[in-house]
């Protein structure tokens, strides 16, 4: 079977989106302290691993492939393991490619949450949270918005309030991850020294900028991968350039006026805020509308990241300030700046559509917020009250790289010397030559 250009593009786009999660690992990793950068990056990487498996087994079926269970989710067992999708009468290569494309969205949504719990989460608890959350929170919301469920035009809520526009994931990805991040930050509690300890500042801004650059690169696939035709694809590409550009300018101007200096960290953050805001709107606003949206999102997120200090929630890397705030701005802005389609439907207030579209956007946002807040709280609290979501104070002090992973990101002179190498014990007994030092070296971080 020949591949169509649309199929080729969607496979390329899926590959671009998959790169966004390792990119996020660098974006987040640079913001943490040097002693927890590996753990931060691992929370993103393990999302790729776990959801790559979950998606094939039941995730796709629950989010999209299975038949409707009350409009709430797809039957997770119907396409379990992608059974029946690989050959036969109903075989559709485009659908198979779309399974992979959708998987990359689920992966990055979960990875985004990890920024709220930097420096202090148990890796095992996170590795349990990932598959449970993606199954019970991400899959249903994706089904409501994109799979024909509750919030779509035929769904129970969508047919009442109107179908919300969410082209690439303002509600499904960013509002969802932002609220989940806030809930987990509240459950785990503040880092020791939050808002007081000056050592809790980003340890590697070049990593942050590298991550932002790779996120932007991947985002062209994220926004554009589902384009229905070439004109729409071109518009999405341009909007995905213009909005983050304007948001970067907005963030830097805010810093220049308020703090005196435009920072590189602010430039990287502005790019991401603009990308988040344009995500739901990328196919439904004009390029000038995208610039206005980006500018507002950049300024708003630059101001919002300070709220955690005022209100005392340790959303460590600003998942709320960037993803929830700019995700809401992009989602709600469609009520004003959405350009009507060829039939004149879906127009925002500025295009003569009245407030109907704004109402649909608001309802979709509220429904997504309500479900993710409730379900994340239940999942998070069960994990926290049983196995514990947070490391001990002592491990937090030592650094989670060492205590959770037995590694350190950087070997500075002295710290890695004067020690002993034992190759894998099961395979290296023949290497043990005469006198091995008799004093046993305690495993780093576990001496008591």
């Amino acid at each position: 079977m020949e591949m169509t250009t649309a199929q080729v593009w969607q496979m390329v786009a899926a590959t671009l989106v998959l790169l966004m999660t390792p990119a996020l690992a660098f974006f987040y990793g640079g913001m943490t302290r040097a002693k927890s950068v590996l753990n931060m990056m691992m929370m993103s990487f393990i999302s790729v691993g776990i959801i790559g498996v979950v998606w094939v087994l039941w995730g796709y079926s629950a989010a999209s492939g299975g038949s409707s269970v009350g409009g709430l989710f797809g039957n997770p067992f119907e396409a379990f393991g992608l059974q029946g999708m690989l050959s036969g009468e109903d075989f559709d290569a485009g659908v198979l490619i779309n399974v992979g494309y959708q998987a990359t969205f689920a992966i990055i949504t979960v990875a985004l949450i990890s920024g709220a719990i930097a420096d202090r989460a148990k890796f095992g608890a996170w590795a349990l949270f990932v598959p449970v959350w993606v199954s019970l929170v991400y899959c249903p919301i994706a089904y409501w918005v994109w799979g024909g469920g509750l919030l779509s035009s035929d769904g129970a809520i969508g047919s009442w309030a109107g179908a919300a526009i969410d082209f690439a994931g303002g509600t499904v990805v960013h509002i969802n991850a932002g609220v989940a991040g806030l809930v987990l930050a509240l459950i785990l509690g503040k880092r020791k020294g939050f808002g007081v300890d000056p050592r809790q500042r980003p340890h590697n801004i070049p990593f942050v900028m590298l991550g932002a650059a790779l996120l932007w690169f991947g985002w062209f696939g994220f926004n554009g991968g589902a384009a229905a035709e070439a004109g729409q694809a071109g518009l999405i590409w341009i909007n995905t350039l213009a909005a983050p550009g304007a948001a970067m300018i907005g963030w830097l101007l805010t810093e220049r006026i308020r703090d005196g200096h435009p920072t590189s960290f602010g430039a990287a953050s502005g790019i991401v805020a603009g990308l988040v805001a344009i995500t739901p709107a990328c196919a439904n606003v004009s390029p000038v509308g995208a610039i206005g949206l980006g500018l507002v999102a950049g300024v708003a997120s630059a101001l919002a990241v300070g709220l955690k200090y005022r209100w005392g929630f340790d959303d460590s890397l600003d998942v709320v300030g960037v993803h929830l705030v700019s995700g809401l701005i992009g989602t709600l802005a469609l009520g004003f700046i959405a350009v009507p389609d060829a039939e004149g439907a879906g127009a925002g207030l500025f295009y003569g559509g009245g407030l109907a579209q704004f109402w649909a956007q608001l309802v979709a946002a509220v429904v997504a917020i309500a479900w993710t807040a409730l379900a994340t709280a239940v999942i998070g609290l069960i994990i926290h009250k049983t196995m514990g979501f947070r490391v001990s104070d002592k491990d937090e002090e030592t650094g989670v790289d060492l205590t959770e992973h037995a590694e350190t990101a950087y070997e500075f002179a002295g710290l890695g010397t004067g020690s002993r190498l034992v190759p894998h014990p099961a395979t290296s007994s023949h290497l043990r030559q005469s006198p091995v030092p008799t004093t046993s070296t305690p495993t780093p971080g576990q001496e008591n």
């Binding site: 000056p198 500042r201 980003p202 810093e255 308020r258 703090d259 005196g260 200096h261 920072t263 960290f265 602010g266 953050s269 630059a302 990241v305 300070g306 200090y309 600003d318």
Partner: protein, 112 residues
């Protein structure tokens, strides 16, 4: 014999080293240091949050000198490292009982 230790601004290191070499110094040791004195720290801003940095980066320069040359070298060092502002650092002298050149075992002033 003296050990001259200088804590100076990192950006004055090249000038200090060139001046000492011109004055006949054949070897010296440099290491990174951090500290505070009369110079105030600075403020870094990350996403609007201010972090005060009050231990500032400095360079520690150590050079051995004979009794006759030590006072002159201190003057050379101070002149080269001076910018006229707080934060220029300090230079001090330490009298030494002995010095050994590791490669030859030579001791005393000849090893300086």
């Amino acid at each position: 014999m003296y050990l001259i230790t200088a804590i100076i601004r990192p950006e004055r290191l090249d000038a200090a080293r060139e001046a000492l070499q011109a004055a006949g110094v054949a070897g010296l040791t440099v290491s990174e240091a951090a500290g505070f004195g009369r110079q105030r720290g600075h403020v870094q801003v990350y996403r609007g949050a201010e972090y005060a940095v009050d231990l500032l980066p400095k360079v520690r320069l150590e050079v051995l000198a004979e009794d006759t040359t030590a006072p002159g070298l201190v003057d050379v060092l101070v002149a080269a490292a001076n910018t006229g502002h707080a934060g220029d650092g300090k230079v001090w002298l330490h009298r030494l009982d002995d010095v050994v050149r590791v490669s030859t075992g030579e001791r005393g002033p000849g090893a300086v």
